[in-house]
Each structure stands twice: as structure tokens, then as C-alpha cells.
Amino acid sequence: MAEKILAKDQLDQFLGKLAEGREVFAPQDVEGKVAWAPLEAAADLLWDFSNSDMSPKDYFFPQTECMMRFVNKADDEMGMIMQAEPELNTPRALINMRPCDAKAFQVLDLIFMQDEMTDDFYWRDKREKSLLVGLACNDPCPTCFCTSVGCGPHHETGLDVLLVDLGDKLLVKAVSDKAAELLAELPEAEQADLDQAAELKKAAEDMVEANVGVATDQLEGREVMELYEAALWPRVAESCLNCGTCTYCCPTCHCFDIQDEVQGDEGRRVRNWDNCMSWLFTVHGTGHNPRGSKTHRVRQRFMHKFKYIPDKRGGEIGCVGCGRCVQLCPVNIDVRSVVNDMNA
């Protein structure tokens, strides 16, 4: 489908259509922070922002998610049988998602939906019922390094629609056919619009390229054990606090814990985000811990993203270059320097 044009003053109508049968969410200014929230009006949409502080993965993989329930009564044995939580009622639209975050969902699809047995019901349900409308980055931050990990400021992977901000109007590009109906009545873009978008794309890519990036070209060829035993890890781990900040703000981190909770007659099985930085994450019932040191745990996160996932998932890197961990790490462990050291 050819690119379309959506004037910003027509946005309320467009959002009205988008909201038919859907809940609409977007990054907004929430008490000075950029956070994803339900969208009330087009006026609440942000156009000049870098990205949301936290990744939108919570919409597909909530930090706490009830998976199933049961009746907790000793005399009701059939009640003890687990029943799945209902599926998502109302489909969703996530608008103004940055391309790096959308790319992250495509990476996570490879992990959550692998085959018949490994097909995460909860993830798939929300993924299939969500429409992702992206907003290309025209002004990337100094911590962005998407172009060095197979993504980019105008990247389309994982999105259904990509918007490019052309000032008072948006260039609208259908990426999947999921939104065809929504876009059908929009006017087609002029060549000048396409040229402007192409210039913006080039400029944004150049900006990211000028930032510090990561080099990963040597990683595929190296044996796991060579990277694992590299000298850099104890030094990287030294200042690490082993907190979960990097993993929880990360759009591709996806580790979780499953627990049962009971309260009177009610019982549920619930999953919560967990992270490989935690000592508790891997410790066995016997007390033995396969990743017993801080060094083990820090190494796991980088190896997982830059060696294990690519080796296992056809070269796909487990990082999209959003830079959140670089900005938020309390001790400034910079993924870019770590990976460049791995690759050196």
C-alpha cells in the first residue's frame, strides 16, 4: 500500500476510529516522566520526546500476571484444578511506539512462541490482539545505538503502521495489513512528503551512527567458552550492584518467576518478572547455586543478549539499542563498552 498522509489536526478523528473496539495507549507526560498510559485525546500525544522511561513490554508481559486460578478448599478436590485466566477482552492499540521497542517484540516472539509446546498463551493472546502504531525517531538520543544492533530510528519490524513526523502532518506507512481499513480513507502522500521522510530517516540514522555503538561482528565466530572465560567479566561485575534495573527497563528481558498464592478460598498461580542478576534466580533446593557469584550473573545477561540468543535464534541480537539501561544503571555499566570489550 502506498504511503498516506495524516494531518495532525485530523488526529482526533483518526484516534476515534482507532478506538473503535480498542483501548488506545500512548507515551505521555505523566508528572514529568514519559510513561505509557491510556490515551484520552490527540492533544495528549507527545511528538518531541526521546522514549518512555520504561519499555512498553508490560502490555504483553505484565510485571505481575495471574495465569490461572483455583478454589482453595480441602473438601473441593475438583476446585483445586487450575483454570486459565480469561483472555484479553478488548483489543489494544499502542500508538507512538518507538521502532526499537517494536523490534523488541519481534525478538521476544522468537522466544515466547517457538513451537507447539513453547507457545506462551498469555503473550500470544495480547500480541494477536494489539495493533502497534510506531513513531519514527527523528531526533535520537546520545545513548541510542539501534543501528548497530540491526534496528534503526525509522525501522518497521514488529510494527503494523509507521508514522513519520513531518511537522504539521504525519507520513503514514502501512507495514502489515492489520490496519488497512483504518488507513483506507487517508489521502496519499505526495512525492515531496516521501522525500522529506527519506531525508529525516537519513539524518536520524546519521545521528545514531555518530553515537557510540556496539560492534558484534566477532561474536558469532567465537566459541561460547572463549567469551565466557574472557578476562573482562570480573571487572564489569565489580561495580555491579546486582539490582534488577537493567533487566526491568529492558524491552527484551523476559525472565520470570511463577508462584502460587492463596487467600482463604481463593488461589491463583501468578507470574512475576524476575531477573538473572538475582542470587535467588538460579539457586537449587540443595543450596547449590550454578551462578553463585556476581560475575556469573552479570556475564549471563550480556552473554544471553549478545551470544546465546543470536546463536539460538538465527543471528537475532537480544538487544535493540534503546539505551535505557545505559541511562538508568545506578553504577553506569554501559552495555556498549561491555559488548565492545567482548567483541575486541
Binding site: 475438583m78 506462551d120 524476575d274 544471553h304
Partner: protein, 279 residues
């Protein structure tokens, strides 16, 4: 699409305390729904998540063999929150099973080969399954000589006594049961499993070894095989790591890029040698 996090409901048919310290208890489980029993199509070496509502799930190797019918056997060591509760459950109670999970022993590739099985302690569970499979009349002819070496600390700590006693009576399998020290009333072999392997000197030609036991046993057993000329491709091990999802997503059983729950738990020693020893 099936929600693979939901356990199949099962009923505990029979339980049996297996060891003198009462820490190991076996559970025979029957499916409440016939369709679930059919869907639970497993191969020796696989495991399942046993689910006790309100307590959680634990990954346990399947000790029964599909050749024994639809009921499942699990032998559970009492170490944590879920297993403590499970030990207090009785025949007739309803619980859940989720699986089958993980890969299995390479029974196809093992066809036509001699097989050496070395089991230590309660790691014998999935090897019981394997033995039942191999010795079944439909399968026995597919495999060469079978040596089964099984050691425990004391006679009272040996699992599945009734079964291996039957195997001992057969002439198509050599069964070597050993305990760590002399014991009053024990007239069988004495010594560690590795000592028995030294004595029987299994030959590497056209052979495969399945070794399951505590890490220390594996560490001492491999050099004996190496000495006898075995390669790391011929030695097959089964790992245990902490798990939650059981289907290769949640991340805690990662060993290098491999998920013990999905890509394992069965690996050749050659495969493990290329991975960090995070198990």
C-alpha cells in the same frame, strides 16, 4: 491453541515410601481425562512439572515408561515447599501434571548398540523408565548388550528394589547393584558405581553410556570411561537445574544458550563440554 502452562488434572493412585530415610516417595498418577492421557505422549528421559495448587510446581523426571500403560510414576525427594506438601498427599488426592517436557534419551540412535547405564542415588528415576523401555519385548531386540550399574549409600537407600530384582533374574541384561559399604544382611556388590565400572570394563565399540547421578559421581566416572577409550559423544548425561516454566522461556535453567528444560535435560558430554558449567 493449548495453554501449555495449565497442568493436566491427575489423581494419586498409589504412593510408596522408597527409602529408609523416608525422604523419597513414589507416586503413581492416573489422568482424570482420557484425552489428556493420550496427549501426554512421552519418551524415557523426559520430565514433567508436578503441580500442587497453592504450593507450586516442581520439575521431576518421569520414572515410568510408556510401555507400562498410561499411569505415570514419579519419585520425589522431600527438599522444599512443594515436595514437603506432596509427601503429605495421599492416594485419591487430585493434583496436576504438566508435560511431557524436555528432550529424551536418544533411544532411536541407541538402536543396535550396546548400552551401559550408570545410576547413582535417586537419579535412577528416568533410567528406570529407560530400562523398562529397553527390556520390553517390543524393544529388547533393537538393542545390544545392556549393563545396568546402580549404586546407593546403603541397601535401604536403593529405589525400585522389586524391579531390579526381577531384572537380575533375566539373562538378557547384566544388573550390578552396589552399596557404598559392607552392610549386615547385604550380600550384593560393595563399592561406588565407578568401582563397578572399573571392574566390568565396558568397551566403547558400538556402545553408548547413560550416566545419571550427583555431580561428584559424574566427575569420577567419566575418567574411567575415557581410560577405556570412550569418546565424549558416547556418554550421555542428564542435568537438573532450577526451573519454572519448563518450556524454554523463563530463563533460570539457562546453561549457555541451552535451556535445560527444553533443549535438555539430556546432553552428551561432548555438548556439555562446550558450555559453561552452570549446573
Amino acid at each position: 491453541m493449548r495453554n501449555t502452562y495449565i497442568p493436566y488434572p491427575v489423581r494419586i493412585k498409589e504412593t510408596q515410601v522408597e527409602t529408609e530415610d523416608k525422604m523419597l516417595k513414589s507416586f503413581w498418577l492416573e489422568f482424570l481425562n482420557a484425552d489428556d492421557a493420550k496427549a501426554f505422549d512421552y519418551t524415557p528421559g523426559q520430565f514433567a512439572e508436578l503441580s500442587v495448587s497453592g504450593y507450586g510446581e516442581i520439575p521431576i523426571g518421569i520414572a515410568s515408561s510408556p510401555t507400562e500403560g498410561e499411569d505415570l510414576l514419579f519419585t520425589v525427594n522431600k527438599v522444599g515447599h512443594v515436595t514437603n506438601r506432596l509427601h503429605n498427599m495421599r492416594a485419591g488426592d487430585v493434583m496436576g501434571v504438566r508435560g511431557p517436557l524436555g528432550n529424551s534419551y536418544p533411544l532411536e540412535e541407541m538402536k543396535g548398540k550396546n548400552i551401559v547405564i550408570v545410576a547413582g542415588g535417586f537419579a535412577v528415576t528416568t533410567l528406570r523408565s529407560t530400562m523398562n523401555w529397553l527390556l520390553h519385548p517390543d524393544h529388547r531386540g533393537d538393542y545390544g548388550d545392556i549393563d545396568f550399574v546402580y549404586g546407593a549409600r546403603t541397601p535401604g537407600m536403593l529405589l525400585y528394589t522389586d524391579e531390579w530384582s526381577q531384572w537380575q533374574k533375566r539373562d538378557d541384561v547384566k544388573v550390578h547393584i552396589t552399596v557404598d559399604q559392607e552392610f549386615p544382611g547385604w550380600d550384593g556388590l560393595v563399592g561406588f558405581g565407578v568401582d563397578i565400572v572399573k571392574q566390568i570394563k565396558p568397551q566403547p565399540d558400538n556402545a553408548v553410556a547413560l550416566i545419571c547421578g550427583p555431580p561428584i559421581m559424574i566427575r569420577f566416572t567419566w575418567p574411567v570411561f575415557e581410560e577405556l577409550g570412550w569418546t565424549t559423544e558416547q556418554v550421555i548425561l542428564s542435568l537438573e537445574n532450577r526451573m519454572k516454566c519448563g518450556i524454554g522461556i523463563c530463563g533460570r535453567c539457562n546453561v549457555g544458550g541451552e535451556y535445560v528444560c527444553k533443549d535438555g535435560p539430556v546432553f552428551t558430554k561432548a555438548e556439555l563440554d562446550k558450555l559453561p558449567a552452570e549446573y
